[in-house]
């Protein structure tokens, strides 16, 4: 069939791009090999947030019941139901995407796509049936998959990726997590909360190595307090899958051998390049190379999302797809590339940031003033019993713009939006100061953090 646009991949880039094109009155097909929603909805953001909710509730009841005045006799959990709830959340969301496809009259084709020259996409269904479709514009949103550790290939049982980690049939007694980025950190929190002995191994100097160093310090301390063994600055010198599980030899503060039933490898992702005879130019790191309008080296073939390289974030992917599609179909629209975006980690304590870290500001030689407010001094944080962490804001000098914001602590990921908006609108600290923040809320900490930069904070 002939379409105005064929989208390959139904994740946060693909489905969003398809819907935007349909809203613009275009005839659209979205081809997805597995299930609409992509990694985010099926094997990433959404199901893990479900698991983390379970972990937080259980950890509070298990470790802090007395503090809140609860008593339990024989508090226990049902692992299968915890995993089941997460899958159910994912199923319902995926069904939601299919509904949206119908609503927007998008042809949802569940098959493998092969990209050919001349705007042709050959699809192959699971039953072997083949079809050929064509469109003047094609948007490739094939995404990424977990990257394996050399010498320790995935086996789905003892050496696993995040995908298996969210559906393990039984809870392991011990787990080694390689890589303390967002994925490793979140699973570390989850498994530790339910009693798995967790060791986090990170090659770089800090857990969450791309966050502000102060934030990483809070997370590392909190994790150690929770019983997670956090090994930073630690390289893996030897890795082997054994009969009982996995054995790693690491070199950090000291040389040591670590053993666990399961190793979760969370060291990053690798691109899933589109299949077919069409050759598209790649970047040095192996992603699809695109220009400012998200067009690849093949005219008419565009790409967005994880497949064009980092940051591998769902919200960035959706933004890129919308920009690409509007660039194709809206006269005079100049697509924007991603500049500022929030990054979030949803364990406890939560972490959220937008803009420059203090280290980056220093490295770039940008003059700034620092505002920092600890949740320890927030009435709301005390009321809900979450006193860990702070809000840290970098204010540019001399103009007062918001250069970056870093939150670690309760609901950090919900609070970061205000600061993202401030940066997009080019608000200065004065606009944040002049905005009344409701009392009592955690967001007051944002207001007070800006105040501390100018000696105007009231509660500290």
């Amino acid at each position: 069939m002939n379409y105005d646009l064929i989208v390959i991949g139904g994740g946060p880039a693909g489905y969003v791009g398809a819907i935007r094109a349909a809203q613009l009155g275009k005839k659209v097909a979205c081809i997805e090999k597995e299930r609409a929603g992509g990694t985010c909805l099926n094997w990433g953001c959404i199901p893990t947030k479900s698991l983390l909710r379970n972990a937080e509730m259980y950890q509070t009841m298990n470790k802090r019941a007395a503090e809140f005045g609860f008593k339990f006799d024989g508090l226990s959990f049902d692992w299968n139901k915890i995993i089941g709830r997460s899958r159910d959340v994912s199923d319902k969301n995926a069904a939601g995407i299919e509904f949206l496809f119908k609503k927007h009259k998008i042809d949802y084709i569940q098959a493998e796509a092969n990209l050919e020259a001349g705007g042709v996409v050959k699809v192959k269904f699971a039953d072997g049936k083949e079809e050929s479709h064509s469109a003047p514009k094609i948007l490739v949103c094939t995404g990424c998959t977990a990257r394996a550790l050399p010498n320790l290939p995935f086996n789905g049982k003892t050496v696993i990726s995040s995908k298996e980690a969210m559906i393990l049939p039984t809870q392991p007694k011990s787990m080694l997590i390689i890589g303390a980025g967002a994925i490793g950190t979140e699973f570390g929190y989850f498994y530790n909360a339910f009693g798995t002995k967790v060791t986090l191994v990170e090659m770089l100097p800090n857990a969450l190595p791309y966050e502000d160093a102060d934030v990483s310090t809070v997370v590392e301390k909190a994790y150690q307090k929770q019983g997670i063994n956090v090994l930073t600055n630690t390289k893996i010198t030897k890795a082997e899958a054994t009969e009982k599980g996995v054995k790693l030899t690491v070199s950090g503060k000291k040389e040591e051998t670590l053993e666990a039933e399961v190793a979760l490898v969370a060291i990053g992702v690798a691109p899933i390049l589109p299949t077919g005879s069409l050759k598209i130019e790649l970047t040095e790191r192996g992603y699809l190379k695109v220009n400012d309008a998200y067009e690849t080296s093949v005219p008419g073939v565009y790409a967005a999302g994880d497949i064009i390289g980092p940051p591998w974030l769902a919200h960035v992917a959706s933004f890129e797809a919308i920009q690409a599609v509007e660039g194709m179909f809206v006269a005079g629209h100049k697509p924007k590339r991603v500049t500022t975006f929030p990054a979030c980690t949803y364990a406890n304590p939560q972490v959220a940031s937008v803009g420059l870290t203090e280290g980056e500001a220093k490295q770039k030689g940008i003059a700034y003033k620092l505002g920092k407010f600890p949740f320890m001094a927030s009435g709301k944080a005390r009321a809900i019993g979450e006193l860990e962490g702070f809000v840290k804001i970098l204010v540019g000098e001399p103009n007062g713009e918001i250069l970056g914001a870093h939150i670690v602590g309760p609901e950090a990921t919900e609070m970061i939006a205000e600061l993202g908006l401030a940066i997009t609108l080019e608000a200065t600290y004065e606009e944040i100061e002049a905005t009344i923040h409701a009392h009592p809320t955690l967001s007051e900490a944002v207001h007070e953090a800006v105040g501390t930069a100018f000696g105007k904070a009231i509660h500290i």
Partner: protein, 431 residues
């Protein structure tokens, strides 16, 4: 993860810099502290050092290009970097081409031609601008009604203001350690908006250097906000010239450097300021600050403008020290090698156009200082002496431009009187 390297802000008034020379090339190993490049700011050429060890991976800005502060100019690969690194780097700042930041389309000060192409909304129309854009515009004296917005819905954002040419600044730029001038409105704005004749095919449109722009801003601010008045006095320069010949005759024999007329005038000015410290002062809005130290700014002509390096703590300096220090400062000013602290913090300025044969002139006050001395050439002319006879004399004309808020006529006259005494009887400087 490779680190983006951006145009650093090397002085408090710097908004853009010219990449004069790359000291490293792509592929070179770089150690922390190594000089990466030479950057020309509005005031001087400075060295940009590396803050990390690594390898220079990419260069985005070529020698001679001018870019805004904060724009990415190169990429430094760190020791651990390898293709396919696992981590998610934050995206580098978008790299602008030089054409964007280049001011070659900017007309000379009196002709904001490219800006004038922007439709001017009827007065009272609301300007859509981000808070940051408004603040920067206010600081730089940019009229937002004349700036085209590139943000959503034509909103004026930071980038638009940074790329616009400042009109009359609302106040003199701040200098470290000295109080800011009060904003006094900008009567010059109307003058600024008188367009120059458009450039014809044979005319040259010269882009403004950073220095030219600062000179324009500061002097417009001075002339339009500082109430100037002028005093002039003619002095007998013969004793000073005789002293100079005497010193230089022995200097030659002993192999020391020669003393200039200007060195002797500087020595006399320092002595006179010691006698009349109220001239060594600045207007601070709600007070007058009389400075204890004499930091003498000496105007030096350089290729595309002028700088005023500072002879610091000048009181008590010997003639030899003055001569050597001024010579060194002037040489480095011409090669743009001055450090910011060497041209900031002056308390009084001396400008000498004698070597060009100029007999008398009045310089514009160098804010926030209260006065500037204009020294003319020592010329032979007929003079009526004490006995009523006409004789040949060596005369020198001194002009003093004063900020009337700080220096009144009688005070300025008192200073010039003391200065004349030292020049006509240089032996008094020994006291």
């Amino acid at each position: 993860m490779p680190l983006p390297i951006e145009m650093p802000k090397l002085s408090d008034t710097m908004t853009e810099g010219t990449l004069v020379k790359w000291q490293k090339k792509v592929g070179d190993k770089v150690e922390m502290g190594d000089v990466l490049a030479e950057i020309e700011t509005d005031k001087a050429t400075m060295e940009m050092e590396a803050f990390d060890d690594g390898t220079l991976a990419e260069i985005y800005v070529q020698e001679g290009e001018k870019v805004a502060v904060g724009q990415q100019i190169a990429l430094l690969a760190l020791p651990g970097d390898k293709p396919g690194d696992a981590a998610a780097p934050r995206p580098a700042a978008p790299v602008k081409t030089s054409a964007k930041a280049d001011s070659s389309t900017v007309a000379p000060p009196a002709a904001p031609a490219p800006v004038a192409e922007v439709p001017v909304p009827a007065s009272g129309a609301k300007v859509k601008a981000s808070p940051l854009a408004r603040r920067i515009a206010a600081a730089r004296g940019v009229d937002l009604t004349r700036v085209a917005g590139s943000g959503p819905g034509g909103r004026i954002v930071q980038r638009d203001v940074l790329e616009a040419k400042p009109g009359a600044p609302a106040a003199a730029p701040k200098r470290p350690g000295t109080p800011a001038q009060p904003a006094m409105g900008a009567p010059a704005a109307s003058v600024q908006s008188i367009p120059a004749l458009p450039a014809g095919p044979n005319d040259r449109t010269l882009p403004l250097s950073g220095m030219r722009r600062v000179i324009a801003e500061r002097l417009v601010a001075s002339k339009s906000t500082v109430p100037h008045f002028y005093l002039q006095i003619e002095v007998d320069a013969a004793p000073l010239l005789a002293l100079r010949s005497e010193i230089n005759a022995t200097a030659e024999a002993s192999g020391r450097g020669k003393i200039t007329v200007n060195d002797l005038v500087i020595k006399a000015v320092i002595a006179a300021l010691g006698r009349v410290p109220k001239v060594n002062a600045a207007w601070a809005g709600d007070a007058i600050i009389e400075y204890a130290a004499i930091n003498l700014s000496v105007a030096v002509a350089v290729e595309d403008g002028l700088v005023t390096p500072v002879l610091r703590d000048a009181a008590g300096k010997s003639l030899g020290e003055i001569s050597e220090t001024v010579k060194d400062l002037a040489t480095r000013a011409r090669t743009k090698k001055l450090k910011p602290e060497e041209y900031q913090g002056g308390t009084f300025t001396l400008s000498n156009l004698g070597s060009y044969g100029i007999e008398s002139f009045f310089a514009i006050v160098n804010p926030p200082q209260a006065a500037i001395l204009s020294v003319g050439a020592a010329v032979k002319k007929p003079v009526v002496n004490g006995a009523g006879q006409i004789v040949a004399g060596q005369r020198m004309t001194l002009g003093l431009s004063c900020d009337h808020r700080v220096v009144d006529g009688s005070l300025g006259s008192q200073f010039l009187g003391e200065l004349r005494a030292f020049i006509e009887k240089p032996a008094l400087m020994l006291l």
